[in-house]
Symmetry: C2
Subunit: 270 residues, 2 copies
DNA sequence: AAACTAAGTTTCACATACTGGAACCACTAG
DNA sequence: CTAGTGGTTCCAGTATGTGAAACTTAGTTT
């Protein structure tokens, strides 16, 4: 809904292309026809055809001959399980998120960074029961969300540079920081302050405070945010929650680190 | 825990190999070192190295330079999400599963077929609160589980033939059907009867009734099962639940079909 | 400190297997 | 029957992926 064209980096090799096709299918969010994918113009007919075939053979896509359309396959669903468990903070953070949500009574987000984009991996709604995976998994822009900025602010220089190239800087509201320059200034402030705000930068009326989740060595693992509306509360009162959030973040970090934890989004330089 | 070596079909092309590597990493269930993967002996050193590199570049894997290990990457998590949403029955079935679980008070499983293996996509434990994704995602053998047999029984000939090749027929208990012949006979019976049992074929003491979830056109979408133990109940009393389960299956099928629905596991013939 | 070993990375000549234009098929519509 | 759309197959050319082997780092041992 927000997110610009996949901004696929230089797709290396056949594998890269195949994965792009996977993305294309997944992004559509419903069974897609060959021609629809073709129309995207990313690949020549024959090539696209072959890639789809390969992915289907591999069970990463499923082809419905009746409707003549492709959808994500079962193998992907299976992979989903281990990916989710291992690589997201969600399982580790779950109890802490619960506690925080109960404490603050507002919507709480847990996010991680994926190729310069924010990936929401878990969420608690103020009231409703935990509706897990169906809520998580959304992606959003990093430069105009609390969690996004909180994470960007604590990246090291090279990581930040790379993340910045991936931003598309669309002006969602009149408060959106719509240039790298503005953003960089803001990030410095956030780094100094320790937490980030969303001042209706993404959606009017929506505000939030966000804190990064950092390892001992200050590596960014993810971010937490508490979101509300201008009607219900103000930035100042949200800011009062910072200590609580910080504590939660610290707990999650400690646990994640004491367990095992992979770096995300840091590829070999080349 | 049950599942034999990934039984990877003829890995076509580079993409196939890359996906195999993905599986290898995902299967390990924790960050893996290069050498561990190498030790599996599936690929020569250099090849494995390059594949890992590519996958890492693509964000499908994440490399932690500190621990020198690979884990599923954020991009995979993201893909996982859409796969889960679109291609599993889980989201559609959720309310119906809830209802059924509440009604019967036993453990309820929702499964689908993936390359001749059973993939559990959702589950309700008798008592405990819904612990969603963390429970789902497991795979198991098809030939000795209620859900597995229920689905196999309603496949058409060619699908069944393909699925049978994928089975490895390990004798788990003394009741396990350990040959294609025995299984085929059983499947005919199931098809006639409309539901399948698990008579302690997989684990001693564990029994269940299972029904397939079928489209109008009798295509297999998945299966439902109610599981219990020989201590708590008997096959006969489980059989009494069949009508309820059937009804739930029908509801799920109707909803899934009226929505959109992809075929799973049916690749183009070739 | 030199001599091993294990783990990871890079090279390079070779051929596999990917590419994509174009031709082909199967329908449906005009 | 002719044109058109949507999908599948061919095939020569070559880009790409292959994997044995050589090479770097660390980390141990003598």
């Amino acid at each position: 809904m927000d997110i610009a064209p996949p901004a696929t980096g230089a797709a290396d090799g056949t594998v890269g292309k195949a994965l792009d096709v996977l993305d294309m299918v997944a992004l559509h969010g419903r069974p897609v026809r060959f021609s629809e994918l073709l129309a995207e113009g990313r690949f020549p007919k024959a090539t696209l055809y072959r890639l789809l075939q390969t992915l289907t053979n591999q069970g990463m896509l499923a082809y419905d001959p009746e409707r003549q359309s492709y959808a994500p396959g079962m193998r992907l669903v299976r992979l989903a399980h281990s990916a989710w468990r291992q690589s997201s903070l969600a399982p580790v953070a779950r109890p802490h998120l619960d506690a925080l949500a109960a404490l603050v009574g507002e919507t709480v987000h847990l996010a991680q960074l994926d190729t310069g984009q924010v990936l929401y991996v878990d969420k608690r709604n103020a009231r409703q029961p935990v509706e897990m995976f169906s809520q998580a998994g959304k992606v959003g822009p990093a430069y105009c969300t609390g969690v996004g900025k909180a994470m960007l602010a604590f990246l090291d220089e090279s990581e930040l540079a790379r993340a910045l190239t991936r931003q598309s800087f669309h002006r969602f509201t009149q408060h959106t920081l719509a240039s790298p320059a503005e953003l960089t200034t803001e990030l410095t402030a956030i780094r100094a302050r320790g937490h980030a705000f969303d001042r209706e930068e993404h959606e009017p009326g929506i505000i939030c405070v966000a804190l990064p989740i950092l390892t001992q060595g200050n590596r960014v693992l993810g971010a937490l945010s508490v979101t509300s509306t201008t009607e219900r509360t103000s930035l100042t009162s949200l800011e009062a929650l910072v200590p609580k959030i910080k504590e939660t973040a610290a707990r999650i970090a400690a646990e994640a680190e004491s367990w095992r934890f992979p770096e995300q989004d840091t590829k070999g330089g080349r």
